[in-house]
Amino acid sequence: MIDADRAFLLAQGLDGLLSWAAQVRVAETLGLSLGEVEEAALVEGLLPSRYTRNCATFSIADQLRFRRARVGVVGCGGIGGYVVEGLARVGVGAIVAVDPDSFEESNLNRQLLCTIAALGTAKVDAAASRVAAINPAVTIVARRERLTRENGAQLLEGCAAVVDALDSIGARKELRAVCDDLATPMIHGAIAGWYGQICDAFPGDAALDRLYGRGDGPGEQTRLGNPAFTPMAAAAFQIAEVCKIIAGQGKPLRGRALMLDMSEGDVEVVAFADEAR
């Protein structure tokens, strides 16, 4: 950014904050995208006002790390809808949303992006509309396709983390293989009824092999369904894991899995004693 543009940008700030109206004005005046303005502001130590309540938890440097990060969300249903929403509000700069499906009535009980008006429309299109409504500075790449071992690397290349918001065990095993190939951490979350599990699977970790190592059944969700609250809870933990990994804060759920039982109000973290596979 040339000095005159930088001076113009800084002059639009007030008390260290850049309002949305000012961000739009800078973008229009300087011929930049809203995302470019957001990044330039953060580089200059100017915080977009929308992130004011992030900043006791995350520094401006962390906010810039989010801005520069790309995160994959594979599955845009129960868990995935909330994850897309959360990442956009956190300020992740680019979100790759992957899902081949369209909304149907049975999604209305839990999927954030499913409304009556959205029935029959692609889930990834709803994700793109939602992100644009929250923050047009966030790039959303909507890919209406099923992720496979073949297309996975191309879809998720460059992602700092990939969120597993899938709805079957077989698809998760494929995603794990893709993330291993890409050397990208996979933020696993799965639910059934009142129950959920969350853990980070870094490349080479045995976490997913352990959790799905034994039976060949389809999973308890086929019997128990998925109510409104379990995907919300799993997604919240998964969004936090993404933030921790990008900002380098906290203690990731690596080598451990968080087991959620919302019927008992019970959370237990179990450690994998033999983490490497």
């Binding site: 065990i169 639910i191 009824g193 352990r210 034994r214 039976g215 995907p231 799993a234 087991m259 179990v270």
Partner: protein, 80 residues
């Protein structure tokens, strides 16, 4: 009191395995009982089990259980 021919183990169940059963219980089995015997006793289908731990370590169903060990069973959760 359990006789010498029985072993007392702690069984911990996770998620849906708790339904109609329990969360954690101390249970007696015949000496030499394997994990698979406990699974059958609990009426759990082997195909529904995702992960088996004994004292926090991954274990196979044919492993025999010793007195005082803690067995944990986790179901397969696959929804999203």
């Amino acid at each position: 009191m359990p006789s010498e021919a029985t072993v007392t183990i702690t069984v911990k169940l996770f998620a849906s395995f708790r339904r109609g059963r329990f969360k954690e219980a101390s249970r007696d089995y015949s000496a030499g009982a394997r994990i698979a015997d406990v699974i059958a006793d609990l009426g759990i289908e082997p195909k529904d089990i995702g992960m088996i731990f004994v004292d926090g370590k991954h274990a196979d169903p044919d492993r025999a259980l010793r007195a005082g060990e803690a067995l944990a069973l986790f179901p397969l959760l696959g929804g999203g």
